[in-house]
């Protein structure tokens, strides 16, 4: 059954902004899908609100709509484009839900559009719990036994029938609140009553507990001729109870016999057939009782997923690409496996072990519950490939960049007795505490005995936590037995023994202190995944000495290929990983090559934007005729698609690993400025080791980052910066703060994403900050704190520019909508800068040019300015790719990263024909999205510490239109009528009157707190009064809870007012009410509402917008 010729135009739905649970993997799948469909000659229309994606690059599709992913907007796009079909299975849950909405609204039928890749009934059957359960029963498979109950009596009967332990899942509560596990009969009554009380619909699912069971996943694929294949099996290190996205996972499954595995495979085939996924991939999750082997089906996703991206990277089988081709009619046997040239109708087999580890960001969300549950909390992941689980696990741990050298110990750095006590408080009261407190804060305590530590650790590891792996290994180190560990964690004994082997090896290495390592001893440690630095630490020797003796002994890694077939066939695609063995397959070519270092695991502040830049680098260098070599360890990304660069090394971005690749490949140069802080940190050590760094020199990077050296530059150029100074230690910090006056911005030097950056208002706050900040920079030896004047009410501006050393061309000047103080990664921005006087813009441009030339930038540079009145301050300069580079690309059509890379490779801007700043005739707004829904209890106020996970872009003819679209794209709707709450600080009272007036004109009712209401009244704006929370009920939060408010405008000043308004922010978040904390943003929102009232607006593709971009 070949390609369908009855289809010409296919619309692909993307997944929108990066959020927890939906990240770069859908850019990877969407990009693959778009490429595959265009290769087949289809006209491809793409919709996605996320400008940081590769899939939204204008050349990836025939027309690209960066528009809000809402049913209304998608309907308009479908009406405009009239595609023959919509492919919704490559854009995560967002795309599937939108496809269902299009079906339910009758849009597909009305316009005669076919859904390909998944049928509506199949999606429903997979996603709706009851339908899914019925389907499983029909084919003779078991799900966990459960019943939805509405009365205590019914719940009791159900619980008795199922048997304890029982899991309670109250309906429609956020973050699973009110639910949990009930171990004993005597606790059930209280628990079920609480659960009912928490559920707004007084309903609770009473479910059999499979906590502690083994958890497995199958990535399966099926075509319309009913051909079926399992692409990958995945086993979770963490047993049932932890979301698979938060679990350490391993491919292939490690602890199944063939019979057990084939039973699962048979079940997988039955499930995908019964659910009715006719073409494409699915993910199916199973749990297995470790005592009896009983197999339960947990759930299935009828689409590609994070796991399928992982499976693709783990095996080399491009699931999304194949799924796209199956959706347009091909059968598996008609497709080829790119890597081997053999048939795509097969099951990959691998001769290595793959480990994925989640990366968390709890440090960014104080007040978040650190316990891992069935709701995902991690923000990124690393993947590593090794010959054994032990090697892959240690590589993956190093790839996480959380300051752990493999499974290095925390003993002596963390007081586990205190962690246990903190955890007890959390368990007993639900009160969120700092789990791991710095030793300095704990005061003098007698050193814990080994026995005390063992007991504390065995209690701690009962609770799944972000760093449980390290705690388990520490428990082994202090003598916990396998039985004890198993009883505490239910982590399969096989995994526990692997960890013990690692600990045993550590001890063996420690025992070699003071004498040279025998070659065999060294080789054994390296095979287990120990880094040079870890071996050096264990042996108490300098790492350089260790490295030298290793190299002297000729113990070198080899590179093996990921080839889908365990070497049965010759691999045509150089997708490589390092391991230890006899024969290397790297086979470097003689071509001139450039190596690109990627960004590593996603985290807050370093994510898809940097991957976008790295991918663009590969494209640009290929155009120039270079061989491109990508190094990265993040399995979600487009950069780690074997298609993106000429050669892919899936390796940790650590010095040892990168140097080894450099030695193997001998590139002409290495690019470190595109992957964010991760590769940038390697610039100096690589340069010192004689590695040619392309573009801006390591010294220039240092000049921009080192405060004293940077101040010299500013002085030389006559540029202004906020008053401030460097403080070494707390005493100096007080002195600087006293000199410039509070509030001040404080931060450690060398940080990304505003990590540990805060605005402090008093000596007390500064003191508190110090105790926390030192913890935040635990891997940096520096205790140097920068203390700067906080420019209240200033407007921030971001500029991205390219410099070839002689000429500087600005890519875009972006004005922040929020005032200064909000991290640039969190604040919304508009391009072109819509409300800055020409002389200010002129000063910004000339300062940017001067800085680039002075630093000798070759490539990209980002400058952040603050503008107060007509005065322009330089906040910081980063001679590297910034988070806004892809946004500029989408807003203007100028691929800044590609231009920069060509410059790094030696081209001049003149040669490239990029000599003028793009000046769009439309307006683009970038808005951020936040994961606060996942972290109940966290204050949602924005500040200098970045906390957004992703971004969206709204494009329109005018600023209000673009802003409105951006708001919509973040899944927030602005009210058309009803009530708006206004409460502003004194400085904003005048502006509030203007807002109030406009809102009244629009027909809104205004409610305000005392002072604001008086100000409004004085200006003739009618408003009713409502109490602040502190003033007692009925107050504003009561009003919000009652659903009586459609929008909140609340500006505050000072630490106390900020604390007081916390419950207000929390409530608006929970209720999904649009909420603005600055007058600037509120004014933009009101303008957007005014625009809404004027009637509908157009959707338009980027390709159309870009035609109207001028240059000047």
């Amino acid at each position: 059954m070949p390609r369908r010729d009855d289809l010409q135009k296919i619309l692909l739905i993307g997944s929108g902004p990066i959020v927890i649970g939906q990240a770069c993997e859908f850019d990877y799948s969407g990009t693959q899908g778009a490429k595959a469909l265009r290769q087949e000659g289809y006209e491809v229309i793409l919709v996605n609100s996320n400008p940081a994606t590769i899939m939204t690059d204008p050349q990836m599709a025939d027309r690209t709509y960066v528009e809000p992913l809402t049913p209304e907007v998608l309907e308009r796009i479908l009406e405009r484009e009239r595609p023959d079909a919509v492919l919704p299975t490559l854009g995560g849950q967002t795309a599937l839900n939108l496809a269902l909405a299009m079906h339910d609204r009758g849009v597909l039928e009305r316009l005669g559009i076919e859904l390909i890749g998944a049928r509506v009934d199949a999606i429903r059957k997979a996603e709706e719990r009851e339908l899914f359960k019925q389907a499983m029963e029909k084919i003779g498979l078991e799900c966990a036994r459960a019943r939805t109950c509405r009365t205590v009596e019914d719940a009791w009967a159900t619980a008795e029938e199922i048997g304890f332990p029982i899991i309670l899942r109250p309906s429609l509560t956020m973050g699973g609140s009110g639910g949990g596990i009930v171990e004993r009969r005597e606790d059930f009554d209280r628990a079920i009553r609480w659960a009912f009380q928490q559920s707004p619909v007084h309903e609770c699912l009473v479910e059999e507990s499979v906590l502690g069971w083994k958890e497995f996943e199958l990535e399966v694929i099926r075509d319309r001729a009913d051909n079926f294949a399992v692409i990958c099996t995945i086993e979770n290190f963490d047993p049932m109870g932890v979301h698979t996205g938060d679990s350490i996972t391993v491919a292939p499954a490690m602890t199944l016999t063939d019979r057990e595995y084939q039973r699962m495979r048979d079940a997988g085939r039955k499930i995908i057939t019964e659910i009715g996924v006719d073409t494409g991939g699915s993910n199916i999750q199973f749990s297995v009782d470790p005592k009896t082997g009983r197999l339960l089906v947990i759930e299935m996703n009828p689409r590609v997923s994070r796991s399928s991206a992982l499976a693709s990277k783990a095996t080399g089988y491009p699931i999304a690409k194949i799924a796209a081709k199956l959706a347009v009619g091909y059968t598996l046997d008609e497709l080829r496996n790119d890597i081997t040239g053999t048939s795509a109708a097969f099951e990959p087999t691998i001769d290595y072990v793959v480990v994925k580890q989640p990366r968390f960001a709890f440090e960014k969300f104080r007040g978040a519950d650190p316990r891992l549950t069935t709701q995902m909390k991690s923000v990124g992941e690393s993947m590593a490939i090794g010959k054994t689980f032990k090697e892959a696990l240690q590589k993956a741990a190093r790839s996480l960049e959380i300051g752990r050298d493999g499974l290095s110990s925390l003993l002596g750095r963390v007081d586990y007795r205190d962690v246990r006590d903190q955890l007890r408080v959390l368990r007993a009261t639900g009160e969120v505490v700092d789990l791991v407190r710095p030793l300095a804060l704990l005061g003098d305590r007698p050193e814990a005995t080994t026995e005390e530590l063992r007991e504390a650790l065995l209690e701690i590891i009962r609770t799944p936590l972000a760093e449980r792996l390290w705690y388990v290994v520490d428990a082994i180190r202090v003598g916990a037995t396998e039985d004890e560990l198993y009883e505490a964690t239910w982590i399969d004994r096989w995994f526990l023994r692997q960890l013990r082997e690692i600990v045993d090896e550590e001890r063996a290495l420690e025992a070699t202190k003071g004498r040279p390592l025998a070659v065999e001893e060294l080789a054994r440690a390296k095979r287990m995944g120990f880094s040079d630095s870890r071996i050096a630490t264990l042996r108490d020797e300098p790492v350089a000495a260790q490295r030298e003796s290793r190299e002297g002994a000729g113990v070198e890694r080899i590179y093996a290929r990921v080839d889908t077939c365990a070497a049965e066939f010759v691999a045509l695609t150089p997708y490589l990983y390092s391991t230890w063995g006899e024969q290397s397959e790297a086979a470097p070519t003689e071509r001139e090559k450039v190596m690109i270092l990627g960004g590593g695991p996603n985290r807050i502040g370093q994510g898809i934007e940097f991957d976008y830049c790295c991918v663009h680098a590969a494209f640009a260098l290929q155009e120039l005729g270079y061989e491109t070599i990508m190094v990265n360890c993040n399995p979600e990304t487009v950069s780690t698609d074997y298609d993106t660069s000429d050669r892919l090394y899936f390796e940790p971005l650590a010095f040892e690993d990168v140097m080894a690749i450099v030695r193997e490949e001998k590139p002409k140069g290495v690019i470190v400025q595109l992957g964010g802080q991760t590769p940038l940190k390697l610039a100096v050590p690589l340069a010192r080791a004689g590695v040619p760094i392309l573009g801006t020199s390591a010294d220039a990077i240092d000049r921009a980052e080192d405060r004293e050296r940077f101040d010299e530059i500013l002085e030389k150029l006559g540029l202004r910066r906020p008053d401030g100074g460097i403080a070494r230690g707390m005493t100096q910090a007080f002195e600087v703060a006293a000199r410039i006056g509070y509030p001040v911005v404080v931060r450690p030097s060398y940080v990304l994403g505003g990590r540990a950056m805060e605005i402090v208002h008093s000596d007390d706050e500064l003191r508190e900050y110090f105790s926390k900040a030192l913890e935040a920079v635990e891997d940096a030896e520096t205790q140097t704190i920068l203390v700067d004047e906080f420019l209240e009410d200033a407007i921030e501006v971001d500029v991205d520019a390219v410099c070839d050393g002689k000429r500087v061309v600005i890519g875009g000047v972006m004005q922040h909508i929020e005032e200064a103080g909000v991290h640039s990664g969190d604040s919304s921005m508009v391009l072109p800068a819509h409300a800055l006087p020409p002389e200010v813009l002129g000063a910004i441009r000339s300062s940017t040019r001067a800085l680039a030339l002075e630093l000798g930038v070759v490539g990209l540079m980002n400058v952040q300015f603050a503008v107060r009145g007509s005065r322009v301050f330089v906040i910081e300069v980063n001679p590297r790719a910034s988070r806004t580079v892809p946004f500029i690309g989408k807003a203007t059509g100028v691929p800044l990263a590609q231009i920069a890379v060509k410059v790094m490779a030696g081209k001049t801007l003149d040669e490239l024909g990029f000599t003028k700043e793009p000046w769009p005739q439309h307006v683009a707004v970038k808005e951020s999205v936040f994961p606060f829904h996942k972290f109940p209890g966290v204050d949602t106020i924005l500040g200098p510490e970045m906390r957004s996970t992703g971004e969206v872009m709204g494009v329109g003819e005018t600023f209000p239109e673009a802003f409105l679209k951006a708001i919509w794209a973040t899944n927030v709707d602005l009210p058309r009528s009803g009530r708006v709450f206004l409460s502003v600080r004194d400085a904003d009272k005048q502006a509030a009157c203007d807002l109030g007036f406009r809102l009244r004109e629009l027909g809104f009712e205004v409610v305000a707190t005392g002072g604001t209401r008086e100000a409004l009244a004085r200006n003739g704006v009618e408003a009713s009064r409502v109490n602040k929370v502190l003033e007692g009920s009925p107050h504003i939060v009561d009003l919000l809870r009652a659903g009586d408010v459609g929008m909140v405008i609340n500006t505050t000043e000072g630490a106390e007012a900020i604390r007081d308004s916390r419950s207000l922010r929390r409530e608006t978040l929970l209720a999904g009410i649009p909420y603005f904390t600055t007058v600037a943003a509120a004014s933009a929102a009101v303008a957007a509402i005014e625009r809404m009232a004027e009637g509908p607006f157009e959707v338009r593709s980027l390709q159309e917008y870009h035609q109207n971009v001028r240059f000047r």
Binding site: A253, Q262, F346, T349, D351, F569
Partner: protein, 369 residues
């Protein structure tokens, strides 16, 4: 831990540590790419005379258990792994893999760069090799002296000693309860995997297993409704007596052959076989059923193949390997005989091809009608 070597007849050496029984062994070095089912591989009699390299790197994770045996004992000559797990984790395990190897006298080697071995076999073909803790030069001499696979009849080493009944089905591991026995099948044991017998029982067959050298008259004397020709080791062309028996059975009774049985049926109808460079061994081999157009992911273990061009006019090609287009199944409709090169009984491997047992039953039913 004792140093050991795997030395190939062409002089290539791989070093590692000794596992399993002590001593030396020789055999044809091959590789198999299945990620599960090492116990089934160990006890598959078709590996008789071979040193099997497992491409999956961590072996022995689930230990050994009595349920997953495909024969009473292992018949292979040697076992090559990257890493051997000393302590298994499985609710069914009754022992460790190393113990099992030792108990059955299988010499093995661990710590080997198995990918390098695999690539060597892939690039230079299967060849004789030796494993042992002795001096590599001595191992090389042993490897060179070992008789090559071509021309070897190994069925005598692996077949049943006497005729016997088989009644066990796949049980809880199968798709459902076995059908009640309606057909009498005589299975010619050339080195048969137990799961074939279990699948026959599941499909409703009463099974009598006969030794490899049983002649056609004796088989027909058992009054079978159909005769099954099993898998087994070695060069099919060397098993003259079985080819002769099959020739005599053709047309008299429905026939179904698997692997070596398939090759023997082909030889019996006048086709020829040849040795593949390194064979097909694994659980992920794609086969297309040319009748239905469906793809099966199959288990394969063969070093010889039937020459498609040599098939006589009354035989037709029914199954094709999607990767290299080799012959995967034939049918002689006029003689109610068919066979496949791969393993529909799986064990280890996917269950995509179980329908072939039903097809055999249907063939017997049509013959009886």
């Amino acid at each position: 831990m004792q140093h050991a070597h795997l030395v190939l007849a062409d002089g290539t050496r791989f070093s590692g540590t000794a596992i399993g029984a002590s001593g030396e062994t020789t055999g044809e070095v091959v590789f198999t790419t299945g990620m599960t089912g090492y116990q089934e591989v160990l006890t598959d009699p078709s590996y008789c005379g071979q040193i099997v390299t497992m491409t999956a790197p961590q072996m022995g994770n689930t230990g050994v258990n009595p349920e997953d045996l495909e024969a009473t004992r292992p018949f292979l000559s040697g076992f090559v792994v990257h890493e051997l797990c000393p302590a298994p984790s499985s609710w069914r395990a009754t022992g460790t893999l190393d113990e099992y190897l030792r108990e059955h006298g299988i010499v093995g080697i661990a710590g080997v760069d198995t990918r390098a071995v695999t690539r060597h076999v892939r690039d230079f073909g299967a060849q004789m090799a030796a494993i042992g803790t002795a001096d590599p030069e001595r191992l090389l001499a042993l490897a060179k002296a070992a008789p090559p696979m071509t021309g070897r009849d190994l069925t005598g080493e692996v077949t049943s000693a006497a005729t016997h009944e088989w009644t066990e089905g796949t049980g809880v591991w199968g798709p459902g309860p076995a059908a009640s026995p309606r057909h009498h099948v005589v299975a010619l044991d050339l080195g048969m995997k137990r799961n074939i017998l279990r699948c026959l029982v599941d499909a409703g067959c009463r099974v009598t297993v006969v030794p490899a050298r049983t002649d056609a008259a004796t088989i027909l004397g058992l009054a079978p409704d159909g005769v099954f020709l099993s898998n087994g080791p070695g060069d099919p062309a060397a098993v003259g007596y079985a080819i002769e028996a099959v020739r005599a059975l053709l047309g008299r009774v429905p026939l179904f052959g698997i692997c070596l049985g398939h090759q023997i049926l082909s030889l019996a109808i006048g086709a020829t076989t040849y040795k593949l460079k390194f064979g097909h061994r694994g659980l992920n081999q794609p086969v297309k059923d040319l009748v239905t157009g469906r793809i099966e992911i199959t288990t394969q273990n063969h070093g010889f193949a039937v020459n498609v061009d040599s098939l006589p006019a009354d035989a037709k090609l029914t199954h094709l390997h999607l990767n290299d287009g080799t012959c995967m199944g034939i049918e002689v409709p006029s003689k109610r005989a068919f066979s496949v090169q791969y393993h529909p009984e799986a064990a280890a491997g996917p269950h995509d091809s179980r329908y072939l047992f039903e097809r055999f039953v249907a063939s017997m039913e049509r013959a009886a009608a």
